[in-house]
Amino acid sequence: MASARHAFPAGLVLDAHKRHALEAPIVPLPAPASVVLALDQGSGSVLEPVVAVGQDVALGAIVARAIDPFGATLHASVSGRVKAIETRESASEFGECVCIELANDGRDALEPGLRRQEALTLEPPELVERLREAGIAGLGGAAFPTATKLAAARERGARRLLLNGAECEPWICCDDAVMRAEAGEIVFGARVLMRALDAVECVIAVEDDKPEAIEALRQALATTDAGGVAVDVVPAVYPRGAERQLISAVMGVEVPARGLPAEVGLTCQNVATAAAVARWARTGEPCLSRVVTVTGSGVARPVNVRARLGTPIAALVAAAGGYRGDPLRLIAGGSMTGRALTSDEVGLTKAINCVLVATREDLAPRLDAYELPCIRCGDCATVCPPGLLPQQLHRAVLAGQDEAAVTLGVWECIDCGCCDYVCPSQIPLALRFREARARLRDREAATARAAVARERFERHEHRLQEAALAEQQAFDAARALARGSGDQGAT
């Protein structure tokens, strides 16, 4: 089955834990009484609100816009009144960010002007702009604006599209559910994305542990106008779904370190993103909801739900039958790269693909583990997907040797956590590398600030010297004048 094309350096075969949540179809969740829309939806870019407290907004109205290319336009996921705009706990990287709370008036009054798009006949640049306006972002977990990716690909002439349906991380199965239920939509979305790219070829990559999804996609391709779309089955290995790893596995090309996939002629989008694109094209509905897996041993009935953005995590857990047993951690994301939350009042964002309510048994045996010294066994190096030497990198990071850390590839680390998983000394390697990157960025910023300060100091000194010189010259001139007039008086 596995050909050379699918050869995949390192990685791990992990217990999937996906079966239970996939037993029932996707449950559509009713709109909650209020939604909390985080202004950082997960891409790290904080949006700027365009509404004020007390203002009434319609369903689908824009509530916040991006100030850089890394943020996606955010829309009201319910109709109602803006109750608050304030800093709250969020699932974003810094644990908190400014959020807009909307009180739902229950009417779902739709913003006028949202209508079906003739997406397959629009001019590609116009199509990209409309996707930007619709706030479509990567639903695979990064929430990176789709339009920005498409624009970068167009700029570099990347003509191939890769749809990522690998979904390799344990527990997460929302993409699988979407592929089973909305295969036709994914194919249609793929064709819209191909139009935006002027692409002629599209591959939907799915891991071989999702036979139902593969079958659904094949049927959709057989019954509709496929137009250059094909399905490719890849062996299930974590982290297959990481962009670079998937590209090297399916397309057989390496994306250069710190480069973009567009540089090797292709663009990667998540399958759920393609489904969201299709939804927008058919109805004009911007990105207002997403499918999310609610799972873990700490919930009664693991399930996939379609929920409005901003729906409190508590409501998602309730849809899964509520908490069960002794839940220990509430995690946004999967068991390998997820982030623990301290409250279930956090609102759903475009980036949250899974809510994992983990009990002690889910987290064992790592939970009670404590860090021991590195014994240099090299297990981390054998599983590292980008092929780094985590133990060497760890030594460099601990010793504060920034240059060595960069040489050893601290920027090439994809934060997958495979090294943590296999480390017999339970060293939190991925976390250390993440901290090191933050420190390096801080230092880079400090260096940039220092350069500005140096320039300003030099100009300041120069100006003071000029002023002193001018004063001296004026003094000399006055004295010369005084002497001159004195001489004249003498003669």
């Binding site: 990176f144 504060g400 960025r441 801080d442 600030r449 350069a451 300060a453 140096r454 300003r456």
Partner: protein, 180 residues
């Protein structure tokens, strides 16, 4: 025959040595002296707060003093241990702790802040700011350009009404991962 080969080799080697030596001598006389480059490199390692805590009126004067061998490398509190280590490596000296005479508790990044209610617009803080980060004019309220302020504290002493204080700089948040 063999002797000839040796002779030729010697002549060629001698000629090469002469040519290269001449070129190096010419370059040394024409190119800027090494101390300037050394000053540049030392200056690049200093944090550019221009705070004068080292006893020199700015980072570059301190860098010049180090290059001349007049000052030790352990006098820069804002740079901290990181800077001392970097300088030690550059100058091939033993790294050492910050000189206690110059050491101060690390308070993190600070920026000056003017209580605009109390500012009388005397303009005395304007010329002392080494990076021109204070905006103001006589009898007009002053304010700090927080992004340019290096937190050097030089503006505190001249203020007659003590309306300037140092506050923690707003933390710059960086994403751990971001596409280029």
């Amino acid at each position: 025959m063999n002797l000839d080969a040796i002779l030729i080799a010697c002549v060629v080697a001698a000629a090469l040595a002469l040519i290269v030596g001449g070129a190096l001598g010419w370059a040394a006389s024409r190119l800027p002296p090494a101390t300037d480059q050394l000053v540049e490199r030392i200056d690049a390692m200093l944090p550019q707060t221009q705070c004068a805590q080292c006893g020199y009126p700015g980072c570059r004067p301190y860098a010049e003093a180090i290059a001349r061998g007049e000052a030790e490398i352990d006098r820069c509190p804002p740079g901290g241990d990181h800077t001392v280590r970097a300088l030690a490596e550059l100058l091939d000296r033993e790294p050492r702790a910050l000189d206690p005479a110059y050491d101060r508790p690390d308070q993190g990044a600070l920026v000056a802040w003017i209580d605009e209610e109390r500012c009388i617009g005397c303009a005395r803080c304007l010329p002392v700011c080494p990076v021109d980060a204070i905006v103001g004019a006589p009898r007009h309220m002053h304010t700090i350009l927080a992004e340019r302020c290096t937190g050097c504290e030089l503006c505190l002493a001249p203020c007659p009404v003590d309306c300037i204080e140092l506050r923690p700089a707003q933390a710059i948040r960086h994403r751990w991962h971001r596409a280029a």
